[in-house]
Protein backbone atom coordinates (compact mmCIF):
# COMPACT_ATOMS: atom_id res chain seq x y z
CA UNK A 1 0.00 0.00 0.00
CA UNK A 2 2.94 2.31 0.46
CA UNK A 3 3.01 3.51 -3.13
CA UNK A 4 -0.67 3.86 -3.84
CA UNK A 5 -1.62 7.48 -4.13
CA UNK A 6 -5.27 7.53 -3.17
CA UNK A 7 -7.62 4.76 -2.23
CA UNK A 8 -11.07 6.34 -1.84
CA UNK A 9 -12.67 2.98 -1.15
CA UNK A 10 -10.41 2.30 1.82
CA UNK A 11 -11.53 4.30 4.81
CA UNK A 12 -8.12 3.92 6.51
CA UNK A 13 -6.32 5.77 3.77
CA UNK A 14 -9.01 8.27 2.94
CA UNK A 15 -7.83 11.83 2.40
CA UNK A 16 -10.48 14.47 2.12
CA UNK A 17 -10.68 16.28 -1.19
CA UNK A 18 -10.24 19.59 0.59
CA UNK A 19 -7.03 18.46 2.30
CA UNK A 20 -5.72 16.94 -0.86
CA UNK A 21 -6.37 20.03 -2.97
CA UNK A 22 -4.87 22.26 -0.33
CA UNK A 23 -1.75 20.13 -0.33
CA UNK A 24 -1.48 20.07 -4.11
CA UNK A 25 -1.76 23.84 -4.14
CA UNK A 26 0.90 24.13 -1.48
CA UNK A 27 3.23 21.94 -3.45
CA UNK A 28 2.55 23.66 -6.74
CA UNK A 29 6.05 24.99 -7.15
CA UNK A 30 7.54 21.54 -6.59
CA UNK A 31 5.11 19.93 -9.02
CA UNK A 32 6.01 22.47 -11.66
CA UNK A 33 9.62 21.33 -11.50
CA UNK A 34 8.59 17.76 -12.09
CA UNK A 35 9.11 16.51 -8.55
CA UNK A 36 6.66 14.03 -7.10
CA UNK A 37 3.21 15.06 -5.98
CA UNK A 38 2.54 14.94 -2.25
CA UNK A 39 2.83 11.42 -0.99
CA UNK A 40 -0.10 11.77 1.35
CA UNK A 41 -1.05 8.14 1.46
CA UNK A 42 2.44 7.31 2.70
CA UNK A 43 1.28 8.96 5.86
CA UNK A 44 -0.97 5.96 6.46
CA UNK A 45 2.05 3.69 6.79
CA UNK A 46 3.44 2.73 10.15
CA UNK A 47 5.43 5.45 11.93
CA UNK A 48 9.12 5.54 11.01
CA UNK A 49 12.21 6.12 13.11
CA UNK A 50 14.40 9.16 12.40
CA UNK A 51 17.27 8.65 9.95
CA UNK A 52 20.47 7.10 11.40
CA UNK A 53 23.04 9.70 12.49
CA UNK A 54 26.36 9.91 10.63
CA UNK A 55 29.16 7.53 11.65
CA UNK A 56 27.06 4.39 12.09
CA UNK A 57 28.32 0.98 10.93
CA UNK A 58 25.36 -0.72 9.19
CA UNK A 59 24.17 -4.07 10.56
CA UNK A 60 24.80 -5.75 7.20
CA UNK A 61 28.45 -4.75 7.40
CA UNK A 62 28.73 -5.99 11.01
CA UNK A 63 27.20 -9.34 10.12
CA UNK A 64 29.68 -10.02 7.30
CA UNK A 65 32.21 -10.63 10.11
CA UNK A 66 29.98 -13.23 11.75
CA UNK A 67 29.44 -16.96 11.28
CA UNK A 68 26.07 -18.33 10.10
CA UNK A 69 25.59 -19.76 13.61
CA UNK A 70 25.10 -16.21 14.90
CA UNK A 71 21.37 -15.44 14.78
CA UNK A 72 20.02 -11.89 15.01
CA UNK A 73 17.58 -11.29 17.86
CA UNK A 74 16.95 -7.58 17.18
CA UNK A 75 17.92 -5.23 14.34
CA UNK A 76 17.68 -1.99 16.32
CA UNK A 77 19.65 -2.07 18.54
CA UNK A 78 21.61 -4.99 17.06
CA UNK A 79 21.71 -8.12 19.22
CA UNK A 80 22.75 -11.60 18.05
CA UNK A 81 24.16 -14.84 19.42
CA UNK A 82 25.05 -18.46 18.75
CA UNK A 83 23.72 -21.25 20.99
CA UNK A 84 25.64 -23.90 22.95
CA UNK A 85 26.13 -26.42 20.13
CA UNK A 86 28.21 -23.77 18.28
CA UNK A 87 30.26 -22.79 21.35
CA UNK A 88 32.39 -25.90 21.92
CA UNK A 89 35.72 -24.03 21.44
CA UNK A 90 37.67 -23.33 24.62
CA UNK A 91 38.34 -19.86 23.18
CA UNK A 92 35.32 -18.48 21.34
CA UNK A 93 36.28 -17.45 17.79
CA UNK A 94 35.60 -13.78 17.02
CA UNK A 95 32.97 -14.66 14.43
CA UNK A 96 30.91 -16.43 17.12
CA UNK A 97 31.22 -13.84 19.89
CA UNK A 98 27.73 -12.58 20.72
CA UNK A 99 26.54 -9.05 19.88
CA UNK A 100 24.73 -6.79 22.32
CA UNK A 101 24.33 -3.11 21.44
CA UNK A 102 22.32 -0.61 23.42
CA UNK A 103 22.61 2.07 20.74
CA UNK A 104 24.09 2.17 17.22
CA UNK A 105 27.41 0.56 16.21
CA UNK A 106 29.76 3.55 15.91
CA UNK A 107 32.99 3.84 13.92
CA UNK A 108 35.99 5.43 15.68
CA UNK A 109 39.69 5.48 14.81
CA UNK A 110 42.43 4.51 17.27
CA UNK A 111 44.59 7.55 16.47
CA UNK A 112 41.82 10.04 17.23
CA UNK A 113 39.44 8.36 19.69
CA UNK A 114 40.22 9.74 23.13
CA UNK A 115 39.76 8.05 26.51
CA UNK A 116 39.60 10.53 29.37
CA UNK A 117 40.64 9.44 32.88
CA UNK A 118 39.12 11.92 35.30
CA UNK A 119 37.34 12.49 38.59
CA UNK A 120 39.13 11.64 41.85
CA UNK A 121 42.61 11.44 40.33
CA UNK A 122 45.80 13.48 40.91
CA UNK A 123 46.51 13.88 37.21
CA UNK A 124 43.60 13.69 34.74
CA UNK A 125 44.65 12.09 31.45
CA UNK A 126 43.40 12.21 27.90
CA UNK A 127 44.81 9.33 25.90
CA UNK A 128 44.24 8.02 22.40
CA UNK A 129 44.39 4.30 21.82
CA UNK A 130 47.79 4.88 20.23
CA UNK A 131 48.93 6.52 23.51
CA UNK A 132 47.56 3.64 25.59
CA UNK A 133 49.50 1.11 23.52
CA UNK A 134 52.70 3.14 23.82
CA UNK A 135 52.53 4.03 27.51
CA UNK A 136 51.55 0.72 29.16
CA UNK A 137 52.80 -2.83 28.90
CA UNK A 138 50.50 -5.17 27.05
CA UNK A 139 48.62 -8.09 28.58
CA UNK A 140 46.21 -10.79 27.40
CA UNK A 141 43.66 -13.03 29.05
CA UNK A 142 40.95 -15.49 28.08
CA UNK A 143 37.79 -14.39 29.86
CA UNK A 144 34.03 -14.68 29.91
CA UNK A 145 31.85 -11.90 28.64
CA UNK A 146 28.17 -12.54 29.21
CA UNK A 147 25.09 -10.37 28.97
CA UNK A 148 23.21 -10.09 32.28
CA UNK A 149 20.15 -11.34 30.39
CA UNK A 150 21.87 -14.31 28.71
CA UNK A 151 19.44 -17.24 28.57
CA UNK A 152 16.46 -14.97 29.32
CA UNK A 153 13.98 -16.97 27.21
CA UNK A 154 14.38 -19.84 29.65
CA UNK A 155 12.50 -17.88 32.31
CA UNK A 156 8.80 -18.58 32.59
CA UNK A 157 7.03 -16.26 32.09
CA UNK A 158 9.56 -14.54 29.86
CA UNK A 159 10.57 -11.12 31.15
CA UNK A 160 11.14 -8.16 28.85
CA UNK A 161 14.45 -7.60 27.10
CA UNK A 162 16.59 -9.19 24.39
CA UNK A 163 15.21 -12.71 23.79
CA UNK A 164 18.51 -14.52 24.31
CA UNK A 165 18.11 -18.26 23.71
CA UNK A 166 18.61 -20.42 26.84
CA UNK A 167 22.29 -20.81 25.91
CA UNK A 168 22.82 -17.56 23.91
CA UNK A 169 24.51 -14.33 25.01
CA UNK A 170 27.81 -15.72 26.38
CA UNK A 171 31.32 -15.94 24.91
CA UNK A 172 34.88 -16.62 26.07
CA UNK A 173 37.35 -14.97 23.66
CA UNK A 174 40.97 -13.95 24.25
CA UNK A 175 41.39 -10.26 25.03
CA UNK A 176 44.44 -8.06 24.40
CA UNK A 177 45.12 -4.67 25.92
CA UNK A 178 46.55 -3.11 29.05
CA UNK A 179 45.68 -3.56 32.70
CA UNK A 180 43.04 -1.08 33.84
CA UNK A 181 44.95 -0.84 37.13
CA UNK A 182 48.06 0.47 35.31
CA UNK A 183 46.05 3.21 33.62
CA UNK A 184 44.34 4.19 36.88
CA UNK A 185 47.68 4.27 38.73
CA UNK A 186 49.17 6.53 36.04
CA UNK A 187 46.41 9.03 36.74
CA UNK A 188 46.94 8.69 40.51
CA UNK A 189 43.81 7.41 42.26
CA UNK A 190 42.91 9.60 45.26
CA UNK A 191 42.31 7.75 48.53
CA UNK A 192 38.65 8.82 48.62
CA UNK A 193 37.88 7.07 45.31
CA UNK A 194 35.81 3.91 45.78
CA UNK A 195 34.15 3.29 42.41
CA UNK A 196 35.12 3.57 38.76
CA UNK A 197 32.60 4.67 36.14
CA UNK A 198 32.91 3.93 32.42
CA UNK A 199 31.01 5.80 29.71
CA UNK A 200 30.79 4.74 26.08
CA UNK A 201 31.00 7.06 23.08
CA UNK A 202 28.26 5.21 21.17
CA UNK A 203 25.15 7.24 20.42
CA UNK A 204 21.44 6.84 19.79
CA UNK A 205 18.97 8.30 17.32
CA UNK A 206 18.52 11.54 19.27
CA UNK A 207 21.26 13.62 20.87
CA UNK A 208 19.25 13.60 24.11
CA UNK A 209 19.57 9.83 24.56
CA UNK A 210 21.92 9.21 27.50
CA UNK A 211 25.27 7.49 27.04
CA UNK A 212 25.80 3.91 28.18
CA UNK A 213 27.58 4.19 31.52
CA UNK A 214 28.24 1.74 34.37
CA UNK A 215 30.47 1.74 37.40
CA UNK A 216 32.15 -1.02 39.39
CA UNK A 217 33.81 -0.95 42.82
CA UNK A 218 37.45 0.20 42.67
CA UNK A 219 38.66 -3.18 43.96
CA UNK A 220 37.21 -4.95 40.91
CA UNK A 221 38.65 -2.35 38.54
CA UNK A 222 42.12 -2.83 40.11
CA UNK A 223 41.98 -6.63 39.82
CA UNK A 224 44.70 -7.74 37.39
CA UNK A 225 42.29 -9.21 34.82
CA UNK A 226 40.27 -6.01 34.45
CA UNK A 227 41.51 -4.45 31.25
CA UNK A 228 41.42 -1.65 28.74
CA UNK A 229 41.06 -3.78 25.61
CA UNK A 230 42.01 -3.12 22.02
CA UNK A 231 42.39 -6.61 20.58
CA UNK A 232 40.48 -9.89 20.36
CA UNK A 233 41.78 -13.38 19.46
CA UNK A 234 45.14 -12.06 18.16
CA UNK A 235 43.43 -9.52 15.89
CA UNK A 236 42.19 -5.96 16.31
CA UNK A 237 39.04 -5.40 18.35
CA UNK A 238 36.17 -5.32 15.81
CA UNK A 239 33.92 -2.24 15.74
CA UNK A 240 30.96 -4.30 16.92
CA UNK A 241 32.84 -5.45 20.03
CA UNK A 242 33.87 -1.94 21.03
CA UNK A 243 36.80 -1.23 18.71
CA UNK A 244 39.07 0.63 18.90
CA UNK A 245 38.84 0.46 22.71
CA UNK A 246 36.63 -0.99 25.41
CA UNK A 247 36.66 -2.06 29.03
CA UNK A 248 36.73 -5.69 30.20
CA UNK A 249 35.34 -6.45 33.66
CA UNK A 250 35.60 -10.24 33.37
CA UNK A 251 32.93 -12.52 34.77
CA UNK A 252 30.54 -9.68 35.56
CA UNK A 253 27.31 -8.77 33.80
CA UNK A 254 28.57 -7.67 30.36
CA UNK A 255 27.21 -4.14 30.66
CA UNK A 256 30.13 -3.22 32.96
CA UNK A 257 32.55 -3.98 30.11
CA UNK A 258 31.66 -0.71 28.40
CA UNK A 259 32.37 -0.64 24.66
CA UNK A 260 33.83 2.36 22.79
CA UNK A 261 34.88 3.70 26.20
CA UNK A 262 35.43 7.47 26.21
CA UNK A 263 35.52 8.28 29.93
CA UNK A 264 36.90 6.51 33.00
CA UNK A 265 35.68 8.39 36.02
CA UNK A 266 36.96 7.85 39.59
CA UNK A 267 34.05 8.31 42.01
CA UNK A 268 33.35 8.17 45.74
CA UNK A 269 30.00 6.40 45.20
CA UNK A 270 28.40 4.24 42.49
CA UNK A 271 27.56 6.12 39.31
CA UNK A 272 24.04 7.49 38.95
CA UNK A 273 22.11 7.09 35.71
CA UNK A 274 19.71 4.86 33.80
CA UNK A 275 22.20 2.01 33.30
CA UNK A 276 22.75 1.89 37.07
CA UNK A 277 19.43 2.92 38.60
CA UNK A 278 16.80 1.36 36.36
CA UNK A 279 18.53 -1.31 34.24
CA UNK A 280 20.96 -4.05 35.34
CA UNK A 281 19.30 -4.48 38.71
CA UNK A 282 18.17 -7.61 40.50
CA UNK A 283 15.77 -7.94 43.45
CA UNK A 284 17.36 -8.46 46.86
CA UNK A 285 14.79 -11.19 47.53
CA UNK A 286 12.86 -13.24 44.94
CA UNK A 287 9.63 -11.60 43.68
CA UNK A 288 6.44 -13.12 42.25
CA UNK A 289 6.62 -13.51 38.46
CA UNK A 290 5.10 -10.45 36.76
CA UNK A 291 6.06 -8.03 39.55
CA UNK A 292 7.66 -4.63 39.02
CA UNK A 293 11.28 -4.11 40.15
CA UNK A 294 11.35 -3.60 43.92
CA UNK A 295 12.78 -0.29 45.15
CA UNK A 296 15.57 -1.98 47.12
CA UNK A 297 16.96 -3.92 44.13
CA UNK A 298 20.75 -4.16 43.81
CA UNK A 299 23.15 -3.66 40.90
CA UNK A 300 24.02 -6.73 38.79
CA UNK A 301 27.62 -7.85 39.45
CA UNK A 302 29.29 -11.26 39.03
CA UNK A 303 27.66 -14.23 37.32
CA UNK A 304 26.72 -17.16 39.59
CA UNK A 305 27.78 -20.76 38.86
CA UNK A 306 26.64 -21.87 35.41
CA UNK A 307 27.29 -24.53 32.75
CA UNK A 308 26.24 -25.38 29.20
CA UNK A 309 26.40 -28.60 27.20
CA UNK A 310 28.05 -28.05 23.80
CA UNK A 311 28.15 -31.72 22.74
CA UNK A 312 26.03 -33.42 21.65
CA UNK A 313 24.04 -30.93 19.60
CA UNK A 314 20.27 -31.14 20.13
CA UNK A 315 18.87 -34.17 18.26
CA UNK A 316 22.28 -35.40 17.14
CA UNK A 317 22.27 -39.08 16.15
CA UNK A 318 24.67 -41.77 17.50
CA UNK A 319 25.14 -45.48 16.93
CA UNK A 320 24.77 -47.88 19.84
CA UNK A 321 28.06 -49.55 20.73
CA UNK A 322 30.27 -46.46 20.56
CA UNK A 323 30.71 -44.02 23.44
CA UNK A 324 28.89 -40.69 23.16
CA UNK A 325 31.16 -37.74 23.96
CA UNK A 326 29.47 -35.31 26.34
CA UNK A 327 31.24 -31.94 26.61
CA UNK A 328 30.56 -28.38 27.70
CA UNK A 329 31.82 -25.48 29.77
CA UNK A 330 31.32 -24.34 33.36
CA UNK A 331 32.09 -20.93 34.85
CA UNK A 332 31.48 -18.61 37.78
CA UNK A 333 32.62 -15.02 38.29
CA UNK A 334 34.41 -14.90 41.61
CA UNK A 335 35.19 -18.50 42.59
CA UNK A 336 36.54 -21.71 41.07
CA UNK A 337 34.73 -24.71 39.62
CA UNK A 338 34.69 -27.57 42.17
CA UNK A 339 32.94 -30.15 39.96
CA UNK A 340 30.60 -30.78 37.07
CA UNK A 341 28.21 -33.72 37.13
CA UNK A 342 26.14 -35.20 34.33
CA UNK A 343 22.93 -37.22 34.45
CA UNK A 344 21.38 -39.54 31.87
CA UNK A 345 18.24 -40.35 33.86
CA UNK A 346 16.69 -36.88 34.26
CA UNK A 347 18.51 -36.13 37.47
CA UNK A 348 17.91 -39.34 39.44
CA UNK A 349 21.63 -40.15 39.48
CA UNK A 350 24.72 -38.09 38.67
CA UNK A 351 28.24 -38.94 37.47
CA UNK A 352 31.32 -36.75 37.79
CA UNK A 353 32.61 -35.32 34.51
CA UNK A 354 36.29 -34.72 33.79
CA UNK A 355 37.42 -31.09 34.11
CA UNK A 356 40.10 -29.64 31.85
CA UNK A 357 42.53 -27.04 33.19
CA UNK A 358 41.28 -23.44 33.13
CA UNK A 359 43.01 -21.14 30.59
CA UNK A 360 42.82 -18.12 32.90
CA UNK A 361 41.06 -17.03 36.08
CA UNK A 362 37.89 -15.82 34.31
CA UNK A 363 37.82 -18.33 31.44
CA UNK A 364 35.19 -20.99 31.26
CA UNK A 365 36.38 -24.49 32.05
CA UNK A 366 35.68 -27.35 29.68
CA UNK A 367 34.24 -30.61 31.01
CA UNK A 368 33.79 -33.94 29.27
CA UNK A 369 32.33 -37.39 29.88
CA UNK A 370 32.30 -40.49 27.66
CA UNK A 371 28.91 -42.16 27.99
CA UNK A 372 28.24 -45.74 26.91
CA UNK A 373 24.52 -46.16 26.24
CA UNK A 374 23.30 -49.66 27.11
CA UNK A 375 20.21 -49.57 24.92
CA UNK A 376 18.95 -47.63 21.90
CA UNK A 377 16.41 -44.82 22.07
CA UNK A 378 16.08 -41.12 22.69
CA UNK A 379 18.42 -40.02 25.47
CA UNK A 380 18.94 -36.86 27.49
CA UNK A 381 21.90 -35.40 29.31
CA UNK A 382 21.78 -32.85 32.12
CA UNK A 383 24.84 -31.01 33.45
CA UNK A 384 25.18 -29.25 36.77
CA UNK A 385 28.23 -27.42 38.09
CA UNK A 386 29.22 -26.63 41.67
CA UNK A 387 31.62 -23.82 42.59
CA UNK A 388 34.40 -23.75 45.18
CA UNK A 389 32.01 -22.09 47.67
CA UNK A 390 29.63 -25.04 47.43
CA UNK A 391 27.00 -23.29 45.28
CA UNK A 392 25.33 -25.66 42.79
CA UNK A 393 23.29 -24.63 39.73
CA UNK A 394 19.53 -24.64 40.41
CA UNK A 395 17.02 -26.59 38.29
CA UNK A 396 15.31 -23.26 37.52
CA UNK A 397 16.61 -19.77 38.32
CA UNK A 398 14.23 -17.63 40.41
CA UNK A 399 12.26 -15.23 38.19
CA UNK A 400 13.27 -11.58 38.28
CA UNK A 401 11.75 -8.59 36.43
CA UNK A 402 14.59 -8.05 33.94
CA UNK A 403 15.34 -11.73 33.40
CA UNK A 404 18.96 -11.68 34.59
CA UNK A 405 21.40 -14.42 35.61
CA UNK A 406 19.68 -17.47 34.13
CA UNK A 407 21.82 -20.36 35.34
CA UNK A 408 19.33 -23.23 35.42
CA UNK A 409 20.54 -26.72 34.57
CA UNK A 410 21.01 -27.25 30.82
CA UNK A 411 19.50 -30.34 29.21
CA UNK A 412 20.05 -31.73 25.73
CA UNK A 413 18.27 -34.57 23.96
CA UNK A 414 19.87 -36.86 21.35
CA UNK A 415 19.22 -40.16 19.57
CA UNK A 416 21.01 -43.46 20.09
CA UNK A 417 20.20 -45.72 17.14
CA UNK A 418 20.39 -49.50 17.25
Amino acid sequence: MSHKMIEPSDSRSRVSRRDFMAKVAGAGAIMATGASVPNLVLAQDAPKPPADPAGVVPNASVMTGKDAAIKIHSDRPLTASATAEYLSDDITPTNRVFIRNNLFTPKFEEATHVVEIKGLVDKPLKLTVTDLKRMFSGTSTVAMIECAGAGRTAFNPMPRGTPWPPTGGMSCPKWHGVRLADVLKAAGVKSVAAHVGFAGADFGALSTIPKVARSVPLSKAMEEHSMVVFGMNDGPLPDIHGGPVRILIPGWAGSASVKWVAAIDLLDAPLKGPYMDSSYRVPRHPVAPGSAMPADAVSAEGWPIKSIITNPAPNEKFKLGKPVLIAGHAWVAEAGIARVEVSFDEGRSWQSAQLNAQAAKYAWQTFSYAWNPRSPGFATVLARATDSNGNTQPIVTPWNPLGYYWNGIHRVGFMVEA
Binding site: K23, S36, L40, R76, V396
Partner: protein, 205 residues
Amino acid sequence: MSLRFGFAAGALIIGLLAAGGAVIAPLSAQEQVEPSKTLMPGKDSDLTTARCIICHDATHITRTKLSRAEWEDNIKVMIARGMPIAPNEIPLVVEYLATYYNRDVAPPPADAPAAVATAPAADPVQKLLTVNACTACHAVDKKLIGPGFREIAQRYRGDSGAAGKLARKIREGGSGAWGPTPMPPHQHLGEADVRAMADWVLQQN
Protein backbone atom coordinates in the same frame (compact mmCIF):
# COMPACT_ATOMS: atom_id res chain seq x y z
CA MET B 1 -1.69 -25.13 40.65
CA SER B 2 -0.51 -23.94 44.04
CA LEU B 3 -4.12 -24.07 45.27
CA ARG B 4 -4.41 -27.74 44.36
CA PHE B 5 -1.05 -28.91 45.59
CA GLY B 6 -0.10 -26.37 48.21
CA PHE B 7 2.58 -23.77 47.78
CA ALA B 8 5.67 -25.93 48.18
CA ALA B 9 4.35 -28.70 45.95
CA GLY B 10 3.17 -26.15 43.41
CA ALA B 11 6.57 -24.58 43.19
CA LEU B 12 8.16 -28.01 42.84
CA ILE B 13 5.76 -28.99 40.06
CA ILE B 14 6.46 -25.74 38.22
CA GLY B 15 10.15 -26.43 38.56
CA LEU B 16 9.79 -29.96 37.22
CA LEU B 17 7.57 -28.83 34.36
CA ALA B 18 10.18 -26.31 33.46
CA ALA B 19 12.89 -28.95 33.63
CA GLY B 20 10.92 -31.29 31.41
CA GLY B 21 9.70 -28.75 28.85
CA ALA B 22 11.23 -26.19 26.58
CA VAL B 23 12.33 -24.01 29.46
CA ILE B 24 15.64 -25.64 30.27
CA ALA B 25 16.44 -26.72 26.74
CA PRO B 26 14.37 -27.73 23.76
CA LEU B 27 14.59 -31.43 23.09
CA SER B 28 13.49 -30.96 19.51
CA ALA B 29 14.11 -28.02 17.23
CA GLN B 30 11.67 -25.31 18.18
CA GLU B 31 9.74 -23.55 15.49
CA GLN B 32 11.02 -20.01 15.31
CA VAL B 33 8.06 -17.68 15.12
CA GLU B 34 9.11 -14.37 13.61
CA PRO B 35 7.73 -11.55 15.75
CA SER B 36 5.66 -8.97 13.87
CA LYS B 37 7.52 -5.82 12.83
CA THR B 38 4.43 -3.66 13.40
CA LEU B 39 2.21 -3.19 16.44
CA MET B 40 -1.35 -4.51 16.55
CA PRO B 41 -3.63 -1.67 15.40
CA GLY B 42 -5.66 -0.20 18.23
CA LYS B 43 -6.19 2.91 20.31
CA ASP B 44 -2.86 4.79 20.41
CA SER B 45 -0.93 2.15 18.47
CA ASP B 46 0.53 4.84 16.19
CA LEU B 47 1.50 7.01 19.14
CA THR B 48 3.16 4.01 20.80
CA THR B 49 4.98 3.07 17.60
CA ALA B 50 6.16 6.63 17.01
CA ARG B 51 7.58 6.96 20.54
CA CYS B 52 9.16 3.52 20.79
CA ILE B 53 10.77 2.91 17.40
CA ILE B 54 13.05 5.92 17.64
CA CYS B 55 15.41 3.71 19.64
CA HIS B 56 14.31 0.12 18.98
CA ASP B 57 12.38 -1.86 16.41
CA ALA B 58 8.79 -2.91 17.11
CA THR B 59 9.73 -6.56 17.67
CA HIS B 60 10.92 -5.57 21.15
CA ILE B 61 7.20 -5.11 21.87
CA THR B 62 5.52 -7.63 19.57
CA ARG B 63 7.50 -10.62 20.88
CA THR B 64 6.73 -9.64 24.47
CA LYS B 65 3.78 -10.09 26.77
CA LEU B 66 4.02 -8.47 30.19
CA SER B 67 1.83 -7.71 33.16
CA ARG B 68 0.54 -4.15 33.52
CA ALA B 69 2.96 -3.63 36.42
CA GLU B 70 5.88 -4.64 34.21
CA TRP B 71 4.77 -2.32 31.38
CA GLU B 72 4.47 0.60 33.81
CA ASP B 73 7.90 -0.23 35.17
CA ASN B 74 9.32 -0.58 31.67
CA ILE B 75 8.12 2.86 30.51
CA LYS B 76 9.95 4.38 33.49
CA VAL B 77 13.12 2.60 32.41
CA MET B 78 12.68 3.74 28.80
CA ILE B 79 12.14 7.36 29.86
CA ALA B 80 15.32 7.14 31.92
CA ARG B 81 17.06 5.88 28.77
CA GLY B 82 15.93 8.95 26.82
CA MET B 83 12.48 8.07 25.45
CA PRO B 84 10.98 11.37 24.24
CA ILE B 85 7.39 11.46 25.48
CA ALA B 86 5.08 14.16 26.78
CA PRO B 87 3.73 13.57 30.32
CA ASN B 88 0.12 13.27 29.11
CA GLU B 89 1.15 10.57 26.62
CA ILE B 90 2.65 8.22 29.22
CA PRO B 91 -0.67 6.76 30.44
CA LEU B 92 -1.86 6.39 26.81
CA VAL B 93 1.18 4.35 25.83
CA VAL B 94 1.00 2.22 29.00
CA GLU B 95 -2.70 1.61 28.37
CA TYR B 96 -2.05 0.54 24.78
CA LEU B 97 0.75 -1.87 25.78
CA ALA B 98 -1.12 -3.27 28.77
CA THR B 99 -4.18 -3.84 26.53
CA TYR B 100 -2.57 -5.38 23.46
CA TYR B 101 0.53 -7.06 24.91
CA ASN B 102 -0.74 -8.31 28.23
CA ARG B 103 0.42 -11.67 29.56
CA ASP B 104 -2.73 -12.14 31.59
CA VAL B 105 -5.47 -10.69 29.35
CA ALA B 106 -6.05 -11.41 25.65
CA PRO B 107 -6.07 -8.35 23.35
CA PRO B 108 -9.43 -7.14 22.05
CA PRO B 109 -10.37 -8.53 18.63
CA ALA B 110 -9.01 -6.56 15.68
CA ASP B 111 -12.41 -5.27 14.60
CA ALA B 112 -13.50 -4.14 18.07
CA PRO B 113 -14.93 -0.59 18.13
CA ALA B 114 -11.98 0.66 20.17
CA ALA B 115 -9.58 -0.27 17.38
CA VAL B 116 -11.65 1.15 14.56
CA ALA B 117 -12.41 4.41 16.32
CA THR B 118 -8.79 5.50 16.30
CA ALA B 119 -7.91 4.55 12.76
CA PRO B 120 -8.80 7.73 10.85
CA ALA B 121 -6.22 10.46 11.20
CA ALA B 122 -7.46 13.91 12.06
CA ASP B 123 -5.24 15.65 9.52
CA PRO B 124 -2.87 14.09 6.98
CA VAL B 125 -0.01 16.43 7.83
CA GLN B 126 -0.41 15.75 11.52
CA LYS B 127 -0.23 12.08 10.64
CA LEU B 128 2.99 12.74 8.70
CA LEU B 129 4.40 14.47 11.76
CA THR B 130 3.51 11.51 13.95
CA VAL B 131 4.73 8.72 11.72
CA ASN B 132 8.04 10.44 11.01
CA ALA B 133 8.67 10.88 14.73
CA CYS B 134 8.58 14.71 14.56
CA THR B 135 6.15 14.79 17.47
CA ALA B 136 8.63 12.87 19.59
CA CYS B 137 10.51 16.16 19.96
CA HIS B 138 7.97 18.84 19.00
CA ALA B 139 4.49 19.71 20.32
CA VAL B 140 2.25 22.49 18.98
CA ASP B 141 2.09 24.70 22.00
CA LYS B 142 5.11 23.86 24.15
CA LYS B 143 8.78 23.05 24.04
CA LEU B 144 9.63 19.35 24.41
CA ILE B 145 13.12 18.48 23.18
CA GLY B 146 12.75 20.94 20.32
CA PRO B 147 10.75 24.17 20.08
CA GLY B 148 6.93 24.14 19.82
CA PHE B 149 5.45 24.46 16.33
CA ARG B 150 3.66 27.68 17.36
CA GLU B 151 6.92 29.18 18.58
CA ILE B 152 8.51 28.34 15.23
CA ALA B 153 5.60 29.87 13.29
CA GLN B 154 5.86 33.04 15.34
CA ARG B 155 9.56 33.43 14.74
CA TYR B 156 9.09 33.18 10.97
CA ARG B 157 6.01 35.47 10.84
CA GLY B 158 6.26 37.92 7.93
CA ASP B 159 9.18 36.09 6.34
CA SER B 160 8.15 35.31 2.77
CA GLY B 161 10.93 32.71 2.39
CA ALA B 162 10.02 30.93 5.61
CA ALA B 163 8.55 27.79 4.03
CA GLY B 164 11.71 27.13 2.02
CA LYS B 165 13.99 27.75 5.01
CA LEU B 166 11.94 25.50 7.22
CA ALA B 167 11.79 22.76 4.58
CA ARG B 168 15.59 22.84 4.30
CA LYS B 169 15.88 22.66 8.08
CA ILE B 170 13.58 19.62 8.20
CA ARG B 171 15.52 17.87 5.46
CA GLU B 172 19.06 18.72 6.53
CA GLY B 173 18.71 19.16 10.29
CA GLY B 174 20.93 21.56 12.22
CA SER B 175 21.49 23.21 15.56
CA GLY B 176 21.96 26.63 17.05
CA ALA B 177 18.75 28.41 16.09
CA TRP B 178 16.92 27.13 19.17
CA GLY B 179 19.76 26.00 21.38
CA PRO B 180 22.53 23.43 21.22
CA THR B 181 20.35 20.29 20.86
CA PRO B 182 20.66 19.31 17.21
CA MET B 183 17.73 18.36 15.03
CA PRO B 184 18.54 15.19 13.05
CA PRO B 185 18.29 15.32 9.24
CA HIS B 186 15.29 13.68 7.55
CA GLN B 187 16.60 13.08 4.07
CA HIS B 188 14.35 10.08 3.45
CA LEU B 189 11.30 12.36 3.32
CA GLY B 190 9.86 13.35 -0.06
CA GLU B 191 10.16 17.02 -0.99
CA ALA B 192 6.43 17.46 -1.19
CA ASP B 193 5.91 15.95 2.25
CA VAL B 194 8.59 18.21 3.70
CA ARG B 195 6.99 21.24 2.10
CA ALA B 196 3.54 20.20 3.39
CA MET B 197 4.97 19.86 6.90
CA ALA B 198 6.70 23.24 6.69
CA ASP B 199 3.49 24.91 5.48
CA TRP B 200 1.52 23.29 8.27
CA VAL B 201 4.00 24.38 10.93
CA LEU B 202 3.88 27.97 9.68
CA GLN B 203 0.08 27.92 9.95
CA GLN B 204 0.30 27.23 13.70
CA ASN B 205 0.81 30.95 14.33
